[in-house]
């Protein structure tokens, strides 16, 4: 499969991120730490067919988040995200 055909979006990450956050992650305005793109997480690209899930910037394709889950354990790397702007 090509990279393009594997691509999902932030909507596909919402259920798994709901294990971590009490807010709905898809509407959270997220700023890319590399290029500064700012958009709701639902607009970001997601690749979920590996052992973990990777969220990438829709503009520069740099990694924003990585999430891996095993029974009883969740590991989240948000090193690529500069900020999350969470509305009421």
């Amino acid at each position: 499969m090509t990279t393009e055909s594997r691509r999902l979006d932030g909507n596909a990450a919402a259920g798994r991120l709901a294990d971590v956050f009490v807010f709905d992650a898809t509407v959270v305005r997220t700023r890319c730490g590399t290029c500064g793109t700012s958009a709701p997480l639902g607009h970001y690209h997601v690749y979920a067919d590996g052992p973990g899930m990777v969220v990438r910037c829709p503009t520069c394709e740099k990694m924003i988040m990585r999430l891996a889950q095993t029974p009883g354990h969740t590991w989240l790397d948000m090193g690529g995200a500069a900020t999350l702007d969470i509305g009421e």
Partner: protein, 244 residues
């Protein structure tokens, strides 16, 4: 109500299959009864989790295909050949069976009926499911927002929700169906893959400032999104839900 539905922490819960109806040759509508369902917004989805007798678990996301006004929460599941989950849901599941799910999920890919902007929907295959919820909700609240749906399916037998879509067309929704692989004799709709001309001719012009929702296979929705951007639609007006 809707906001509470989005903000509450999600937990896995039990849904009971109330009815199963045929939506196309390969798709079924599973109407689910869920106790204490707090409602949803049209466009939201749920995660369904299946557990094998040996404890192995797998989950999939399915759009909610019913309007918030509907007493059941309906999913439209299309059988994916060789799939791990959909053949079970389409062929094995029976009325009265229970499913584990969590939702509603996602406040991004939704239609908010609170502004007058026209709505442009484009679906590939079973990507029409969330738009069945949008259109039923649009009808239920007697919304005056102009809506157009551009829907691409492989053949007439693959078209999901035909009767409902005919009903919506009858009350003024513009429904255009493109059949990509096989057309019945006398077919008057579109043929083949969505190209720039079809997108230009059968979608709301950019100067009407529509909000756009696209749902379907990744290659389809990205091609339509590119076509709409070329027509002058701002990327911020376009929300996409990809299947992969």
């Amino acid at each position: 109500m809707a906001r509470a539905a989005i903000r509450r922490r999600l937990t896995w819960r039990i849904a009971t299959v109330a009815t199963i109806t045929r939506e196309s040759d390969t798709a079924r509508r599973l109407a689910l009864r869920i106790d204490d369902w707090d409602g949803h917004l049209p466009g939201q989805h749920v995660d369904v989790r299946l557990t094998a007798p040996d404890g192995y678990q797998t989950q999939r996301s399915y759009s909610i295909a019913s309007a918030p006004e509907t007493p059941t929460v309906d999913l439209v599941v299309q059988r994916v050949p060789g799939g791990e989950v959909s053949p079970y849901l389409v062929d094995e599941l029976r009325v009265g069976d229970e499913l584990e799910l969590r939702g509603p999920i996602g406040g991004y890919f939704v239609w908010h009926p609170d502004t007058d902007s026209p709505l442009q929907l484009a679906a590939g295959g079973s990507g029409v499911a969330p738009f069945l919820a949008v259109l039923d909700h649009h009808a239920a609240i007697r919304s005056s927002v102009p809506v157009r749906l551009l829907y691409s399916a492989r053949s007439l037998g693959d078209v999901i929700g035909r009767d409902r879509l005919d009903g919506h067309a009858g009350r003024g929704v513009s429904v255009t169906i493109a059949l990509t692989r096989e057309q019945p004799p006398g077919w008057r709709g579109l043929r083949g893959r969505m190209d720039a001309e079809a997108i230009r001719e059968h979608t709301t012009p950019a100067d009407a400032l529509p909000r756009v929702l696209l749902c379907g296979p990744t290659s389809f929705v990205e091609a339509v999104a590119d076509g709409l951007v070329a027509e002058g639609h701002p990327t911020t007006a376009i929300k996409i839900e990809r299947f992969g």
